[in-house]
Amino acid sequence: MSEPASLLYSEVEEELRSAVRGLLADKCPPSAVLARAEAASGGDVPYDMDLWKTLARDIGVAGLLVPESLGGAGASAREAAVVMEELGRAVAPVPFLSSAVLATRALLGAGEEAGDLLERLASGETTAALAVSFAASPYVPLYLSLRPAVTLGRDGTLTGRVTGVVGAEVADVLVVPAVDESAQEGGEPVLCVVEAAHARVKGVGSLDLTRPIATVSFAGAPARRAGTSAGVRDALLLAAGLLASEQLGVAEWCLTTTVSYVKERKQFARPVGSFQAIKHRLADLWLELVGARAAARNAAALLGAGADAGVAVAVAQAYCGTAAVHAAEECVQLHGGIGMTWEHPAHLYLKRAKADEIALGTPGDHREALTWLADLPAPES
């Protein structure tokens, strides 16, 4: 097997990283995220839309995956992956994944009708969300994950309900795969665009306070056809691949923060980080992160090159999902009592890591996909 593209970071990618990291250090420190999480625990929306506008417009992350002909940056998954790493490192409450990756990629596969909406998304003027459960796996056919279905009636309105949607609270438009009542039985769902004002978005108490889920309901909502839903599966696969980079960012924050803490924290008249029981756990975690970076970069490189990224995404998700949870759990444990408190940000990372593990296919789903992707057949019975 040969790699089509480098697993290292290019100069351009490093520049993008430092722009995003600089902005987040300034506008999105852990204290600010904690305050937003506090509000979210009371039912408010945690997203920082001022921060998002700066990221989307000034740094241009909203249009990374949109071609230049539609006003985007024409960049690839590699650059988007670097943004994901930094957003993960800060557990930044911004709708990058939901709008600039999931909704944008679904629309890119829809057809020409989606062009003007993509231009508005690329400029950061409009924010969208894809009305598909965040727990959907790219390996389950869309018509199965849409049941009970959202339907596009003969009168051009949408009816139905989708649970577990991320980014819907702050979306101006919803991108909705729906069963077309006027088409034949069993046909591919169509992709519709609905103004958020015509839908009901109800936040649900969520494990992840910085990227909560919501239920989106339509009751005769006026909808516009944007084309086919053929891009939705690609959107789920792309988002799963990029999520590995977010998980890497989450894990890196956890490791770095824990290492600093155990150097400072003294018990038995020694820094606790001088005990082998602690050192070996952190060495193992570092080792896991080295692998996670290689796997996440490989997925981004193959997705970016337009190559067959099936195995790469499955490997990256199977590995990085587990690594991020492990890192966050070690972070809480090795902080001892303080790691269990609401005031320390470790819990934000634990909640994000655990939610990310479920998002876009669990590590087990991605491993099982290798049954056919890597020809490792299951037992007959």
């Binding site: 290492v259 980080g273 060495a283 080792l287 996670a292 299951a378």
Partner: protein, 390 residues
């Protein structure tokens, strides 16, 4: 000015034009290759190299692909450990004397470092070297010495000053394996074979000209050797991989499949692929001139994966896993993981987390040198070696 790929390619062609391997004795061909600077291009001119960048070696290997080689598997310790140490610390005379026959394989090397009482804590070693005029008299016992029964020379670390703390009283030597008082005995291991030896040194007299580096500087010299050992163990390219063997068995023998094994195999397949990608990324970093600390991760990951996979393989084979291919007390020249059966792989893989630095020691190294965590309190740091509890 350093040579580029084209210039090295030209040297290879010029060399081949004058040396036809089909018409030459194998050894003469290898000697000529060394003298032409095409042995290891990153070594200096006159010592088998061209003073070129290390990655240009690939150009040479491609150009000389179909010519006789020096059987690198048989002389791995010489190539991987003795040679870089001699290059870094040897006198001009030592380099001239040793490097050429080392590279051609005329003289096999072995390593006399570990002792029954000094494994992970190598610096506490007890083999003594006492100066008598222009000679050193060496007494002690070394262990885990591969190739000692073929070896002409050894790299040896011995204690020359017991009155100073352990790291400071060591000196590095080249040991003449044909000298009187050197006795080599095979050390049988859990696989049944004996890759390694015990070496007993009794009143062995070594001329001072065989000392490498300064008296008392042996620990620093040994670090060069050990660094190269870990690179050699973690980064060895393999024709067939363990995951390849296990996956092939899985595919060809459907009757062995169970759901529980399937889940474990899928997980290990992911781990193997991630290890492969990590190695790809590491090579890219090296080629770009940015060697990262990821190198020290390679051996640790390799050991764990090999052990888990080989364990799964034996279990998966059920009745065949109860069998063992060969308990003969053999003395193999190289480790051949893939040429033997599953039981052998399972047992031999146990050594992967012990040889060349245990996984526990490697974790300490990562924690302290990469993560910057504080060192363990050291009870033996400022105590003369002779006063250490033992």
């Amino acid at each position: 000015m350093a040579l580029d790929a084209a210039a090295v390619g030209e040297r290879v062609q010029a060399f081949l034009a004058e040396h036809d391997p089909a018409r030459m004795d194998r050894l003469d061909f290898l000697r000529a290759r060394f003298d032409a600077g095409l042995a290891w291009v990153h070594f200096p001119e006159g010592l088998g190299g061209l003073g070129a960048s290390r990655d240009l070696q690939a150009v040479v290997e491609r150009g000389l692909r179909h010519t006789p080689d020096n059987a690198p598997g048989r002389i791995g310790i010489g190539l991987g450990m003795a040679a870089p140490t001699i290059l870094a610390f040897g006198t001009e005379e030592q380099r001239k004397r040793f490097l050429r026959p080392l590279w051609t394989g005329e003289e096999v090397w072995c390593q006399l470092f570990s002792e029954p009482g000094a494994g992970s804590d190598l610096a506490t070693l007890a083999t003594r070297a006492v100066r008598e005029g222009d000679e050193w008299v060496v007494d002690g016992q070394k262990v885990w010495t591969s190739s000692a029964h073929h070896a002409r020379w050894a790299i040896l670390v011995a204690r020359t000053d017991p009155d100073v703390p352990k790291h400071r009283g060591l000196t590095y030597f080249v040991c003449d394996m044909e000298a009187p008082g050197v006795e080599v005995r095979p050390l049988r291991q859990i696989t049944g074979e004996a890759e390694f030896n015990e070496v007993f040194l009794t009143g062995v007299r070594l001329p001072d000209a065989l000392r490498l580096g300064e008296v008392g500087d042996g620990w620093r010299v040994a670090q060069t050797t050990l660094m190269n050992e870990r690179v050699a163990i973690g980064g060895a390219p393999m024709r067939r991989t363990m995951i390849g063997i296990v996956s092939d068995t899985w595919r060809s023998r459907p009757e062995l499949r169970t759901h529980s094994l399937h889940q474990r195999l899928l997980k290990l397949w992911v781990d193997a692929e991630v290890m492969r990608l990590t190695a790809v990324r590491l090579r890219e970093q090296l080629a770009a001139g940015h060697p990262g600390p990821e190198g020290s991760a390679a051996k640790l990951a390799f050991a764990r994966l090999h052990q888990e996979l080989s364990g799964l393989e034996v279990e998966m084979l059920r009745e065949d896993g109860l069998a063992y291919d060969d308990w003969t007390f053999r003395r193999p020249e190289t480790v051949d993981f893939m040429g033997r059966e599953a039981g052998y792989r399972y047992l031999r893989a146990k050594g992967n987390s012990i040889e060349g630095g245990t996984s526990e020691i490697l974790r300490n190294i990562i924690a302290e040198r990469v993560l910057g965590l504080p060192a363990e309190p050291r009870a033996d740091k400022d105590v003369a070696w002779k006063d250490l509890p033992r």
